[in-house]
């Protein structure tokens, strides 16, 4: 653009144009606000968690595109507001505040790590806003302002450990609980330790190990697992390692030749996306527990994968445009956005309280093959649990699943302090 020095004659005209422009600018946001409903997307697009979270941002955008293609909600289009909290936990709270008070979003879809969720929770509760959290987590929390579309411990961790204890899982008797050092692994392992004790496993048969975020040297840990497994009966490893540390962990596991038939590793935060770029041939047979795998065969999933493949191609999403992968948190995100849309339609409003009331009992045909239902009271989805084994092509093959959907139990009964706690948010309980 060329900038011309205005001649004196034009100054008057220019001034009035500027005044008009300012007036127009003042009006436009209001006019736009009436036309669109803003939706916040709060996922790390850089830092150690970007490996897992970036694709969830794209999933939200895809679901929003779908809803807009059908005419939007309440006669308005949805408008995504994407921010990058950069795997920085305090920044999550800051960005959440910005989304709620500055952008005035109707709902926020975001967070992966529990530490990020804990960091934004007060923000959402104070301003009575809505957060949809799409990842499996440790429970021990139930907020009126959050809908948890991922699994609670009894929908992932406990069934996985039960499977490893069964004959088919290798009748494991000794346990290595391995995790990244933050709230989710620590709490999950606390629950698992209590659960294992209830099953008669001695303390000496449990080894707990933690590494910092972004840890990349897993030599010692693997050596420790090898030593531990040679000292007693069949050993299994439960991994709650999160983020990009999983790549060096699985590389080391493969290079050191720790085979699944000797010491199986079951992971709770490793899906198709995290194993991209890892040579999975030495890892065949290691396990993951989720409520969805890309390899599950049913028409809804076929369509979901097809939609994602097409979306990734048109948007040129790095990695996915050549090799489209779907995973459990993506499915949970997808269900979350659509259920929220259904609830808004039912409530005929985006007011958080009305939407919260309308969310109870919502159903959605999930790619995992069940009709996913939002519990009437506890803000969690009913979910089927699958155990998958890693294949040479980086996909998972389902070797075990629950008979039907499992109801979430966010306040795990295996933790003594939780006795008598009701599985419903306090505010809602008080109203009824």
């Amino acid at each position: 653009m060329q900038i011309k020095q205005p001649s004196r004659r034009h100054v008057g005209k220019t001034l009035s144009a500027v005044v008009l422009g300012i007036a127009a600018m003042g009006i436009t946001p209001m006019a736009l606000a009436q036309e669109t409903i803003k939706v916040g997307v709060l996922h790390s697009l850089s830092g150690t968690m970007a490996i897992s979270e970036t694709v969830l941002k794209d999933t939200v955008l895809m679901a929003i595109d779908e809803i807009n293609a059908k005419g939007g909600l309440l006669g308005k289009k949805l408008e995504p507001v994407v921010v990058d909290p950069a795997s920085n936990w305090p920044l999550f709270a800051e960005k959440a505040k910005q989304l709620i008070s500055q952008d005035k979003v109707a709902a926020v879809f975001g967070c992966w790590t529990s530490v990020s969720r804990k960091s934004v929770l007060p923000v959402f509760e104070q301003s009575n806003a809505l957060l949809f959290y799409p990842v499996q987590y440790e429970g021990e929390e139930l907020s009126k302002n959050v809908f948890y579309t991922g699994a609670a411990p009894n929908q992932q961790a406990i069934p996985a450990v039960e499977y490893l204890m069964s004959k088919d899982g290798g009748s494991a008797k000794r346990w290595v609980l391995l995790g990244t050092d933050y709230v989710y692994p620590r709490t999950t392992n606390k629950i698992l330790r209590a659960f294992l004790k209830a099953k008669g496993v001695a303390d000496a048969d449990i080894m707990e190990e933690y590494t910092p975020f972004g840890h990349s040297d897993y030599q010692t840990i693997i050596a420790k697992i090898k030593k531990f497994s040679s000292e007693g009966k069949k050993t299994a490893v439960v991994s709650t390692i999160n983020g990009d540390s999983n790549v060096p962990f699985y590389k080391e596991l493969g290079n050191q030749g720790l085979k699944a038939k000797d010491v199986p590793v079951v992971a709770f935060s490793v899906g198709e996306e995290e194993l991209r770029g890892v040579d999975t041939k030495p890892l065949v047979g290691h396990l993951a527990a989720w409520n969805y795998f890309q390899s599950i065969k049913n028409p809804t999933n076929d369509e979901f994968i097809k939609k994602w493949t097409a979306y990734a191609k048109t948007k040129g999403i790095a990695g996915h445009k050549d090799k489209a992968l779907t995973n459990d948190p993506m499915e949970a995100t997808y269900i979350g956005v659509h259920m929220w849309a259904q609830a808004v339609t039912k409530a005929k409003s985006t007011d958080p309280d009305k939407v919260i009331a309308a969310m109870a009992g919502q159903t959605f045909k999930a790619p995992s093959g069940i009709v996913s239902k939002m519990d009437e009271k506890n803000h969690h989805l009913h979910k089927s649990v699958f155990i998958g084994e890693v294949q040479a092509d980086g996909q998972f093959k389902v070797v075990w699943k629950t008979k039907g959907p499992v109801v979430a139990d966010p306040w795990s009964d295996y933790i003594a302090e939780n006795k008598g706690k009701k599985n419903e948010p306090e505010m809602v309980a008080a109203k009824k």
Binding site: L45, S46, G47, A50, I51, T54, D84, K167, D168, G169, G170, K173, D181, E209, Y210, T211, P212, G214, H215, S216, D217, Q219, T220, I221, A223, K224, K226, K227, S229, S230, E231, G232, K233, K234, T235, D244, V247, P248, K251, E252, G254, N255, Q256, G257, A260, K261, D262, P264, R276, G277, D279, P282, G285, A318, E389, K397, V398, V399, W400
Partner: protein, 525 residues
């Protein structure tokens, strides 16, 4: 138990004059239903030692078997045959994959291995013995006995004897159990340790228990050696990485005195150069993909060196002798470089694959595997170290660098172009950082903030070793590596890191000049 039933059932059938070859019904039972029933059916079929089973087992292990209309079909591409009869068949649309979990695969491998024990190929026999380890039981003792007596290779014969002992440790005969437990003391396999520990709990007889306990002690003592060597290896491996990341800094900070906060980003540039070379190879030279790392080494050196030269010429040279300003300026540069890479390559990590010759590991002891990528980095670090030492001590350029860093004015008086030497020295340090980045791409993640994780480590090594000394960096790098790994084995990764930092703080308090102090007049300069 179900296995025994199956075996007996088949034996009875055999006695009654039935042939126990693979029938379509059997093939189906091996492929369908609960794992318990499938394994029973498998063992029944395997007990006949009928070689007709082999191709079916191979197909099952290769995931080529599908179920349709109450039949097991082997599907290889468009070629579909019935599993038992080998007759041509068509694949219905509703055909289901046969899913083998770990337990099933182990049973299948074991059954297949039993056939391979008599293979003429030594490699096949060795693999068979390894595969059988996990699924061996008393029913196979006779077979193993036969195989052991027919075995000509002494190493394999010993392994077969151990395998037989593994089978006999659950024998109902007490004498056999004791003999087996004693024999197993000769094993150095971690799996034997686990097996013996499991048997110790099940065993009721005191005499056998004592024998098992003795064997456990012997095996554990042998394993302990592997563990000790393992700690040493991981320590040296970490040390070699620390040395590589610190070596460049030993030149830019140690010799030249530039507090270069962008050192980590120069590594990151080297790692990204490796990534670019990898992509070029994948695109244009897929046949030679395995060798991309070799091509990436010089490229990562020159890319980082070039960036280093530009930095030196444009920013750093104006700040010599002003350490605080240098620190701030280079820190700013590090942010700019990171953001630049984010803009070009994206904020997410990029995938750098290990070439096949850097995957896997060398098994030295049954419980000690040395990964090839770590071995390669050790060798690489040693080569870089030798190269840098020769360059600094034996070449004309090295002489100039030493001369200029020790006494700039005197060197200038002698006709040395000090400005040019500065540029060369700084780009050399930057280039070595690039080499470190290339090495790091093989063990860790490559992302824009790769360098952030190593900048503290590299300063730690240089300061601990003694500023201005290459030898100091070597001792400090290896020492910190081994110390870190010892502490990690004892207290876990999080605490180990803290303890190492505390150690360094205390050490520097006591000996501010580091392990090696500069001596003589040059120390004052």
């Amino acid at each position: 138990m179900s296995f025994l039933k199956g075996t007996f059932g088949c034996l009875l059938l055999a006695l009654a004059g039935w042939a126990c070859a693979l029938t379509p019904e059997q093939a189906l039972r091996i492929a369908e239903g609960e794992s318990d029933d499938r394994i029973a059916a498998l063992n029944a079929a395997a007990a006949t030692r009928d070689a007709a089973l082999v191709p079916y087992l191979q197909a099952l292990l290769a995931d080529e078997v599908k179920l349709a209309g109450g039949k097991a079909l082997i599907v290889r591409g468009d070629d579909v045959v019935e599993a038992a009869t080998g007759a041509k068949a068509t694949l219905p649309d509703d055909a289901e994959d046969v899913v083998n979990n770990n337990r099933m695969r182990q049973a299948l491998e074991g059954a297949l291995a039993a056939f391979n024990l008599s293979s003429p190929d030594r490699e096949v026999r060795a693999k068979a013995i390894a595969d059988m380890k996990d699924s061996v039981d008393e029913g196979l003792a006779d077979l193993l006995d036969k195989a052991a007596s027919a075995e000509t290779d002494l190493g394999l014969k010993a392994q077969l004897e151990l395998l037989k002992a593994t089978a006999l440790i659950s024998s109902p005969d007490k004498a056999k159990r004791i003999a087996a437990a004693t024999l197993l003391a000769g094993s150095a396999d971690p799996a034997t340790g686990a097996l013996l520990a499991a048997k110790l709990d099940e065993e009721a007889d005191a005499e056998v228990k004592a024998a098992i306990r003795r064997s456990i002690d012997t095996v554990q003592a042998r394993l302990a050696w592997g563990e000790r060597l393992g700690v040493l290896f991981t320590g040296i491996s970490l040390g070699s990485i620390l040395l590589l990341v610190a070596l460049g800094l030993a030149i830019t900070y140690g010799l030249m005195g530039v507090i270069n906060m962008a050192h980590g980003e120069l590594m990151m540039i080297g790692a990204y150069a490796t990534y670019v070379v990898q992509n070029l190879f994948r695109e244009y030279l897929p046949a030679a993909f395995d060798w991309y790392v070799i091509a990436a080494i010089p490229l990562s050196f020159f890319t980082a060196a070039l960036v280093g030269a530009v930095l030196e010429r444009t920013v750093i040279r104006w700040l010599y002798g002003r350490p605080l300003e240098t620190l701030l300026a280079t820190w700013g540069i590090s942010l700019i470089l990171m953001q630049l890479v984010r803009t070009i390559f994206g904020a997410q990590n990029v995938g750098v694959e290990n070439p096949s010759w850097l995957s896997g590991g060398l098994q030295v002891l049954p419980n000690l595997t040395l990964p090839y990528n770590r071995l390669a980095i050790m060798a690489f670090a040693a080569l870089v170290l030798i190269g840098v030492t020769l360059l600094i001590n034996k070449t004309r350029l090295g002489l100039f660098v030493r001369g200029v860093t020790q006494n700039r004015r005197m060197a200038a008086c002698m006709g040395v172009n000090t400005a040019r030497v500065d540029t060369y020295a700084f780009s050399l340090g930057a280039g070595i950082a690039g080499l470190a980045g290339c090495a790091l791409s093989q063990v860790g993640n490559v992302g824009p903030d790769l360098g952030q994780g190593y900048i503290v480590d590299s300063f730690m090594v240089v300061v601990l070793g003694g500023v201005g000394q290459l030898a100091g960096a070597v001792y400090a790098g290896l020492g910190l590596g081994v110390l870190n790994k010892l502490l990690e084995g004892w207290q876990g990764a999080v605490l180990a890191k803290i303890m190492v930092l505390v150690f360094i703080v205390v050490f520097i308090q006591k000996r501010p000049q580091g392990i090696f102090a500069m001596k003589g007049r040059s120390a004052e300069a």
